[in-house]
Symmetry: C2
Amino acid sequence: MPRPETYRALFDPASVFAEATIDTSRPIAPQVYDMLRTRIIDNRLPPGAVISEAETARLCAVSRTPVRAAIQNLASEGLVQVRPQVGTVVAPLDEARLNEAVFVRAAIECAVVRHLAETGADLTGLEPLLAAQFRAAEHDDYMTFFRHDEAFHAALAGLAGVPNAWGLIQSMKAHVDRQRLALMSSIKGRSMAAYREHLAVLDAISAGEADAAEARMRAHIHSVLETGGASGHDPVQDGDRRLRVP
Amino acid sequence: MPRPETYRALFDPASVFAEATIDTSRPIAPQVYDMLRTRIIDNRLPPGAVISEAETARLCAVSRTPVRAAIQNLASEGLVQVRPQVGTVVAPLDEARLNEAVFVRAAIECAVVRHLAETGADLTGLEPLLAAQFRAAEHDDYMTFFRHDEAFHAALAGLAGVPNAWGLIQSMKAHVDRQRLALMSSIKGRSMAAYREHLAVLDAISAGEADAAEARMRAHIHSVLETGGASGHDPVQDGDRRLRVP
DNA sequence: CCAAGGCTACTGGTATACTAGTGTTTCCGC
DNA sequence: GCGGAAACACTAGTATACCAGTAGCCTTGG
């Protein structure tokens, strides 16, 4: 019996890459990167999934070259592990890395809000973002809230004059989101709670209370850890010994 | 008259790539990456220098493929700017980015030393690193001190359980080092001063004084800004209009 | 003399071919 | 039936060839 399709080791590639249409008139590599990254974060490509350059290229109807570029970027973020001459797999969920991401994010974002509070930044530009968050939270639409949440934190970094810092955070946050999206989307009211935490942080900034702003931001960021460990763990991963994850 | 070699626009490639020997028996792409990154940071490839994939490949006697991979990594760090169908140039010195790097680094490393102080970490493993720093500082050998300094800060992050955070910092720090190496190497006694600052930070950690540790680390990191702006600016950059830096 | 437009040489992006290395599978000897 | 070795299938890494797009140069028409 021939070896099964690598992707089929964990899932059906036809469904995972169903809407994976690549626009060949635009740069291909970034599109492949975004597609793979999205599917890793939302667990359509679960930890341990084998990603073959050749098969991905075939499924996307492109050559291996842009696929390789995309995978290299994912590897530099730590989202996939490339083992030369062996294969590429989606990185396993790592609690240490999760804690590290929260630590780093808290450190940067606490410094950001402290800076904003101490310099008396103008927060009026954030109003539309907050309104969008509230609407999404009202419907408990976490996926929509997630997008506006990202924009909110990115805007805070921009206001503090450190726009690139958000890029750094994102590369670490991806590891968190892989668990968060699985956890939070099923927790009723989490969006509204996060929205209220955002408001509390902004209130402290507006009042110039740097210590309070920092403390509230820290609590907000750490809240992702309170839902309890690696419960987003995929049981399939352990059941399939064909996976070559160390 | 034919167009001059692109590298010659700013410098002599024969000297810049003099010792650039690639070991083809090992993975090539990382070697090219390290080589280019080192030369960008130590200003042998100054801001605005044009990096041609084809010419780099020729000078290193390899194909364009690993060179492309290396340049893509540099681009993701922001050390080079790739403009499709136009060219790749070493990113200009950007004071905003410098300040941002210091801000981010301070945020993370202050949180690291605070955590170490609060948890009462064992610092004995750092002794050899400090000894090496002292030896380099005694001879005012900043390049050697620089390496041990990197290892020291990386070790602190490792002790705090956030080893990947140092990787993040490095990607931002590269922008700082491009200026720091030009500045510090000519400042007598800076190495010894940095060594003493390290000692002061460790003393505070050992004493469990989190606030003091954080404050001293912040001062240590901010010291790079005190030598005054973008004085590492290369006048050649402005004199050569062939450069296509926006 | 000057301006406008085509020409040319170069760029990075993509596709394809080939290589060295690895893990599995299968088949042969016991 | 079992153990081991060799062949196989697949991997990522590298080399090469081709492509579309850009920008400066040079010719040409005014």
